[in-house]
Amino acid sequence: MPVPRTHSALQLLRQAIGGHRGWPQFWRSPEPKPAYDVVIIGGGGHGLATAYYLASKHGIRNVALLEKGWIGGGNTGRNTTIVRSNYFYPQSTDLYDHSLRLYEGLSHELNINLMLSQMGILTLANSRHDVEMLQRWSNAIQVQGIACEWLEPEQVQAEVPALDVFGMRYPVKGAFMQRRGGTARHDAVAWGYARGASQLGVDIIQNCEVSGFEISDNRVRAVHTNRGTIRTDKVGIAVAGHSTVLATLAGFKLPLSSMTLQAYVSEPVKPALDRVINSPMVHAYISQSDRGEMVMGAGADAYFSYGQRGNLPPLEDGVRSILEMFPRFSRLKMMRQWGGVVDISPDTSPIIGKTPVTGMYINCGWGTGGFKAIPAGGDLLAATIAHDKPHPLAEPFCLDRFRTGRLVDEGAAAGVSH
């Protein structure tokens, strides 16, 4: 049987008849070549999207993507998959809405079902002061062109029957809702970009850990890995929680802190929740996956960690907050809990652009909320690498802002971490 290159109804039928034994590998697994035009480090969504857009938009195809573990095994495969573009400042709005718009066309572009489900996201106000702050927030982004609505408590109850709107200790006083927000399938995002990049000629090399750089005259010349030295004069780094480790190897400083962020899911149940709910004050968020599991999270763990596992006290806090909002979920059994190493920046905004080393570019600092930004992060890093000049949307997010003081302080909008 010829190797099918795409997924179609016909392919599905053929493969079903063949017992699903004929599906090809999603991407090639070549041995690393001695040299590439560009090396991307990190096989999470941001690295994969960068490699894909380098090849698809900029015609740069002699590219290697090096991943120390497996594709999507970092935060991209560990997150709670919420997408939205309701941050506060115009720079962020431009960035995150660019991303959401790319997501809206991405299943088609990558020919893979990303299960983008724009079910709507509600941010709850649980006090009079929350009402004032959230109305300001929602007005601000409407001025910036992001559609969102203010809901009174009765309307919140109509949108979310399972929510204990009036009974909870801090009853819901209102909410603002972005209907285009929702969830998408994280693995499919990683696999779709990986396949797309691979088909365009990018070498995706797993089990390949970068352990150092060759730098002379402040210019990167090669990367050292456990699978040999690879020569290149352009390196893009997208390693999330491990960004400082690689920056230290390259000899520059970053303003990041690596922390654990946890998520937890319940046993699958019938559809009971068809909105994403998030309360900055009660401090937790929840959505129901297409498989029926309740997917939950709250704030990051309280101290620095590269452990990639969660601690008990924040897990207890998160679950308590969910039950405050949804007492009826109290008898759900929890199935799994896990953690990822997130790279928190001082203003909870990302860093995208050049580094002090010539030929070295970075995409990091997404912290607890970079899944929604994968298409944009990849697009902007690819453009910055291709033109050796920050993409206009990425300019406000340059590393230099920590010297000039032009921070993009999204602490409040990043709030409950997702």
């Binding site: 491990h242 690596s258 309280a302 620095f304 960690s305 452990g307 008990l312 920590f402 003081g405």
Partner: protein
Amino acid sequence: MLQIDCPWCGRRDEDEFTCGGQSHIERPALGCSDEQWGDYLFARINPKGLSLERWRHTYGCRQWFNMARDTVSHRILAIYGMTDPVPVLPEARA
């Protein structure tokens, strides 16, 4: 769950404490460059492994102290006073 030996109160659960970030950061002279000031405010070692941190017993005696801790295993290697020098850490050679 970490159990932390507060120098004043003894062993308590981690949720009584607050981690106050990297320790031993020195404030540069006021005439320093923007770059030095930016580094002082924002650049962090963020180590994978041995980390020297300030902690406070927030829901206890409210005193600050220093801790040497491994950020992968979370193991506490030493607890020492706010103005003390970094103690010798035999376990942290790796």
